[in-house]
């Protein structure tokens, strides 16, 4: 049996989170009441002219820089000609001949943990099309058009056919998503349609350099679906080739319920004509450098710094840096004097789940870094114990009082004063002679029992470390 390998390339559409559409001042909110965010320009009324958004250009440029792509000194819009009711002028303004940027790559680890560099061919800007709704009018099928999305700013990232496995495609998309979120150009959510992925897949006998006829797969709405669809398609094509069938160039749709790809009608590629109206984009080196200064530290660099500067493990650093909000929060905690390990631990295991439970975002949550740091610093100073800190964290969401005030109000302040503890210890030792005897006989378990008894007597507020030392000393002293 012949062994096959896949050749996979991705085309990723990313919806830029600009205030307005690409060529007019209409709001870039596709989900509003139908046909509210429209104007003569995005409906392409006679006499209307396109006016490129600077914000779209800048966000697209930042995205390109964030992915390591090289912004081109000269780029221009073309008319991609085809006719469809969701396209208001018979052509889509896109950059076919002179894209905004070329090159760039994303580094990932493959399934075996080996590093892989997956290259980007080019990145261009284009406008989105309208949304179609299909319904029946009596027995007559009709379609309804909502132009709110028409003209929304997009970039399309076209990769080289560097991918060999579904997991590489998924890893690439995850990393891409992280990086685009970092530069702040898009929320990049496949679920919400702000990132849309088409995959081009062909197969060849393993070890050969052939480039065979590819099949385009669309309609995946999560990164997991991309992996599933690519895997399905590789199997399907391998089986076909094995059976002597010829793969033809066509487009297939992923059916997420049945987990199969289904052929759709042959794809029609319209011609691309340079647009004579939209001004060309000429990017001076100074402008590009200015943009670069607006670029945040990218996740890989940040993760590296977290390891070297804060002593996190590689895995921890990658996790914290994946989401710019999380990473920023982490650094803010450190800025407030929280130790990196405590910050990492409490952020990941306590705060993020708590924020998620309440359906909030980390950035807008009721617990900004300063408040959380105040709490963690009390913990570090042994003023409260971990149990109390967790309790107080819950309260922080519902009250705007300072953590210190809450601790006081709830009486959570830890008892570390040896005098106060002494009395409690003496009382317990007097009540539990048998356990004391066990400890002296060398049974460690009994010491734990005694600590528990004292802790209970203190209402949970005893500082466990101080308590243990005191108790151990007392028991041995009394012998």
């Amino acid at each position: 049996m012949m062994e096959f390998e896949a050749v996979i390339g991705l085309e990723i559409h990313v919806e830029l989170n600009c205030a307005t559409k690409m060529f007019c001042d209409c709001s870039n909110r596709p989900g509003d009441k139908p046909n509210m965010n429209i104007c003569p320009t995005c409906l392409w009324f006679p006499g209307a002219l396109p006016r490129l958004s600077r914000e779209a250009l800048e966000k697209a440029a930042l995205l390109c820089l964030g992915l390591g792509a090289e912004l081109q000194p000269r780029s221009a819009f073309d008319q991609k000609v085809y006719y469809y009711p969701d396209l208001p002028k018979g052509y889509q303004l896109s950059q076919a001949h002179l894209p905004l940027a070329r090159g760039g790559a994303i580094d990932i680890s493959d399934e075996n943990g080996r590093p892989r560099k997956l290259r980007i061919h080019h990145i261009h800007m284009e406008e989105d099309v309208a949304k179609l709704v299909h319904e029946m009018e009596g027995r007559l099928p009709i379609s309804l058009v909502d132009f709110n999305r028409a003209g929304a700013p997009l970039v399309e990232i076209v990769t080289e056919p560097d991918f060999r496995t579904p997991s590489e495609a998924m890893e690439f998309l995850k990393a891409l998503r992280t990086q685009v979120r970092y530069v702040g150009s898009s929320e990049c959510s496949m679920e919400n349609g702000t990132m849309r992925v088409d995959a081009n897949i062909s197969v060849r006998p393993k070890g050969t350099g052939q480039m065979n006829t590819k099949v385009e797969v669309k309609n995946m709405n999560s990164i997991r679906h991309v992996g599933d669809a690519v895997a399905y398609e590789i199997n399907r094509q391998s089986a076909d080739v094995q059976a002597g069938k010829v793969v033809t160039l066509h487009t297939r749709l992923w059916d997420p319920d049945k987990k199969v790809t289904l052929a759709m009608r042959g794809k029609f590629e319209g011609p691309c004509i340079p647009d004579p109206v939209v001004p060309v984009i000429e990017l001076a080196p100074e402008w590009i450098e200015r943009m670069r200064t607006r670029l945040p530290e990218m996740p890989a660099a940040r993760a590296e710094r977290f390891v070297s500067q804060h002593g996190l493990s590689g895995e921890e650093a990658v996790f914290l840096s994946a989401d710019p909000e999380v990473a920023g929060y982490f650094e803010a905690l450190i800025g407030q004097g929280v130790s990196p390990r405590t910050a990492m631990h409490w952020l990941v295991t306590q705060l993020i789940p708590a924020v998620k439970d309440r359906g909030q975002e980390l950035s807008g949550s009721a617990v900004p870094p300063a408040r959380f740091a105040a709490l963690l610093n009390m913990l570090a100073r042994d003023e409260i114990n971990a149990h109390a800190a967790r309790e107080v964290l819950g309260q922080l969401f519902d009250s705007d009082k300072a953590p210190e005030a809450i601790v006081s109000a709830l009486g959570f302040r830890q008892v570390s004063d040896p005098d106060a503890l002494d009395a409690l210890i003496d009382k317990v030792l007097a009540e539990q002679p048998a356990a004391v005897a066990d400890v002296r006989a060398g049974q460690g378990k009994a010491l734990g029992f005694l600590i528990g008894q004292v802790m209970q007597a203190s209402g949970g507020k005893a500082n466990p470390k101080v308590l243990r030392d005191l108790l151990a000393k007392k028991v041995s002293a009394a012998s």
Binding site: D25, C26, K33, L52, S53
Partner: protein, 706 residues
């Protein structure tokens, strides 16, 4: 034996006791009592018991009788005798007598039967065989055996009685039965035609008539004044359980009459037809406008034997915060409902939510439904919380809701979906809750149909046919809104939710007819091509006239209460529009097709852009989506030849330099793009107002296939 002496089995009376008679018919059933043989002998008139007794018949006769089997065709001679008390069979007409046979002649033997024909038990009170379990196709394949069965035989005879009653009545009113041709011309309107190829005119076709419409109107122009015909009509439509590709229609047309004349005539006729089946129809028939029928029952053939009429509550929710309703209303939709009075005991929460909302109503084409039960003066439902007090009070008022009632609402962007789904739901509920009284008949005339229906693309099409008279003549044929508001002088007769027939007063004014065609967007040339011969007739003094057609198969089926119309047709097609008996329709030999010129017909009609060897003009027309008419086509060859020449010239002169796309290049002109603005033209709706078709806040286009 001399058949001239034959008497009918079912017509023997006690008066004949003691007489010797000759009977002929089929062996329906037999019973052997050890030498004594009882047989049910059946002919068209009925059944009588004949007895072969060794004491009376010769040994040879008895021996041959013992060899008889079901459905042998025999003749016997014997003496009529009264049965002994206690042995009578009350289930057959002649149950109090029997014939003691002395002579037997086997006229024709029968093979073993594919199914039992007898449906009269020989023993009083015993269950009869019946045909319930026999596959219908088997019955149709051996229809001649099936017709021997009492019920089929009775149906066919009753059908004849009803037809005879029609003929007698119409004759008495001065109507003349005239036959119109079965081989006629194909017309583009209505359903698909059955085509009959002409050998004499190769590649030309007759069509079987879908109705004698044009001919009966021509008979009126021909001065026949009152015409009728029990006409066979043919429609090549998609399969439906109770539809036959050919059917019989009572076709009536009269001149110098109005709607009232026809209502009176048809009501009297219908009453008489139903009387044949022992059914008394109430007179006068109810009347209901089409609009009322649609608005209150969701059907243009409403079943009025029960209530459950619709109530429109769209206005109640005009300001609702319930997002599902709000979105639907934003898309131009509507909300209607029904009150199922006093049935909350039958319709539990579980039934409403899990059966109706999740299964049944979606299967009727609606996306969902909303239900509310009224208990202790309060609405109870999973969505009541989303409605304001004001909305609930308005609902209570609109539905006159009281304790024990159940309200069901359906909301959808499409009005048609709401009425259609609610209409199906209305019937479903009536059946489930047993709200339909048996043996009740509610005839109703549906009137004032819309003359036109809107087409998808903003034009109109005739609801009935283009010869139907409008309710007024002073309309503007270009004003689509006005055209859609016109009513027609058409009427349908509906009984218990079944359309029995319909008709209209026709246009007899040339000018009016022209304006109707103009409204339909037909040019002079097109109407001439489609209806030329017919319209010409109206140039010669057409009288005012009108008429109607009644579906006779359906009427007879309703009168005889049969489960399907196939039970009242001697040789029907099955549900698949095929005849299991003859095997029709069937393939024919290629030679036959060749002789008719039917080979290689129509192969040149391919969609643009789909064929492999399509030409350049078709391809360009397709990719630019610019349609070309036949007369524009020839010139395009020249135009493209010039383009070829231009391309060559350009290639020869291009050189290697840079291309220039605009003479005054501009770079980097941008607007900030950080301040969103709502176009005032969007807010005021002016942007939508320029569209050829909208729906709610959407632009509407023809469907997108794929």
């Amino acid at each position: 034996m001399l058949f001239s002496e034959r008497v009918f089995c079912g017509q023997l009376t006690l008066g004949e006791v003691g007489r010797r008679v000759l009977l002929a018919g089929w062996v329906d059933a037999f019973r052997d009592h050890g030498g004594l043989l009882f047989i049910h002998l059946r002919d068209r008139s009925g059944i009588v018991q004949i007895v072969f007794s060794p004491e009376i018949a010769a040994a040879d006769v008895c021996r041959r009788a013992a060899g008889l089997r079901a459905e042998y065709c025999i003749a016997v001679r014997g003496e009529v005798k009264q049965r002994r008390e206690g042995t009578e069979n009350p289930h057959i007409e002649t149950g109090s007598m029997e014939v003691l046979v002395t002579e037997l002649e086997v006229l024709s033997e029968s093979d073993a039967l594919p199914f039992a024909v007898s449906d009269k038990a020989m023993v009083a009170g015993a269950p009869s065989a019946g045909t319930d379990t026999v596959a219908e196709d088997l019955r149709l394949q051996y229809r001649y055996l099936d017709i021997r069965r009492t019920s089929m035989r009775d149906n066919l005879i009753a059908r004849h009685r009803i037809f005879q009653c029609v003929r007698d009545f119409l004759d008495s009113r001065g109507f003349v039965e005239i036959e119109t041709p079965v081989l006629t011309m194909s017309t583009p309107e209505g359903a698909r035609d059955y085509l009959v190829p002409s050998r004499v005119h190769p590649e030309n076709f007759y069509a079987l008539p879908q109705s004698p419409q044009l001919f009966k109107q021509l008979l009126m122009i021909g001065g026949m004044e009152r015409y009728f015909q029990l006409a066979r009509c043919f429609r090549d439509e998609d399969l439906r359980p109770n539809r036959q590709p050919e059917f019989t229609q009572l076709d009536i047309e009269a001149s110098f009459i109005d709607e009232e004349f026809l209502y009176e005539l048809i009501e009297e006729l219908t009453v008489r037809m139903f009387a044949v089946g022992g059914i008394t129809l109430p007179r006068p028939f109810a009347r209901m406008t089409h609009a009322e029928a649609m608005d209150t029952t969701g059907s243009d053939r409403p079943d009025l034997r029960f209530g459950l009429r619709f109530v429109d509550v769209t206005s109640v929710f005009a300001q609702t915060r319930y997002s599902i309703f709000r979105q639907i209303l934003e898309r131009g939709g509507c909300i209607k409902g029904i009150n199922i009075q006093g049935q909350s005991g039958q319709l539990s929460k579980n039934v409403l939510q899990n059966e109706y909302a999740k299964e049944i109503v979606p299967s009727f084409g609606a996306k969902g439904m909303t239900w509310m039960r009224v208990e202790d003066g309060k609405f109870e439902s999973n969505i009541v919380q989303f409605f304001s007090e004001l909305e609930l009070e308005a609902l209570r008022g609109k539905f006159s809701a009281a304790d024990g009632d159940v309200l069901i609402l359906i909301a959808d962007p499409s009005h048609a979906t709401v009425t259609s789904a609610l209409g199906q739901l209305r019937l479903h509920l009536a059946n489930r809750l047993g709200l339909i009284p048996s043996n009740s008949f509610c005839p109703v005339w549906i009137t004032e149909f819309p003359l036109f229906e809107a087409t998808d693309e903003g034009g109109v099409t005739s609801s009935h046919h283009p010869f139907t008279a409008p309710d007024r003549a002073d309309f503007d044929p270009k004003n689509i809104e006005e055209l859609l508001s016109l009513r027609s002088r058409a009427y349908d007769l509906v009984i218990n939710g079944e359309e029995l027939g319909g008709g209209s007063i026709r246009i007899n004014d040339r000018d009016l007819q022209r304006r109707i065609f103009a409204a339909l967007g037909l040019t002079e040339a097109e109407t001439k091509e489609k209806f030329g011969f017919f319209l010409r007739a109206f140039d010669f003094g057409a009288p005012p006239h009108g008429g109607l057609a009644l579906g006779m198969d359906r009427a007879v089926s309703m009168i005889l209460k049969t489960p399907s119309i196939r039970e009242v047709i001697a040789f029907p097609k099955n549900r698949g529009a095929a005849c299991p008996l003859t095997g029709a329709p069937s393939p024919v030999k290629r030679e036959q097709l060749a002789e008719l010129g039917l080979l290689n017909l129509g192969s040149q009609d391919v969609l643009p852009g789909t064929a492999e060897n399509e030409n350049r003009i078709d391809r360009l027309s397709w990719v630019s989506r610019i349609g070309l008419s036949a007369d524009e086509r020839p010139g395009m060859e020249d135009v493209l030849a010039q383009a070829d020449a231009l391309a060559l010239l350009a290639a020869q002169n291009a050189g290697e330099g840079e291309a220039l796309y605009t003479v005054a290049p501009v770079a980097n002109r941008t607007r900030p793009g950080i301040q969103e603005k709502c176009s005032p033209l969007a807010e005021t709706g002016q942007l939508l107002s320029r569209a050829p078709a909208v729906k709610g806040r959407f632009f509407k286009v023809a469907s997108i296939l794929e």
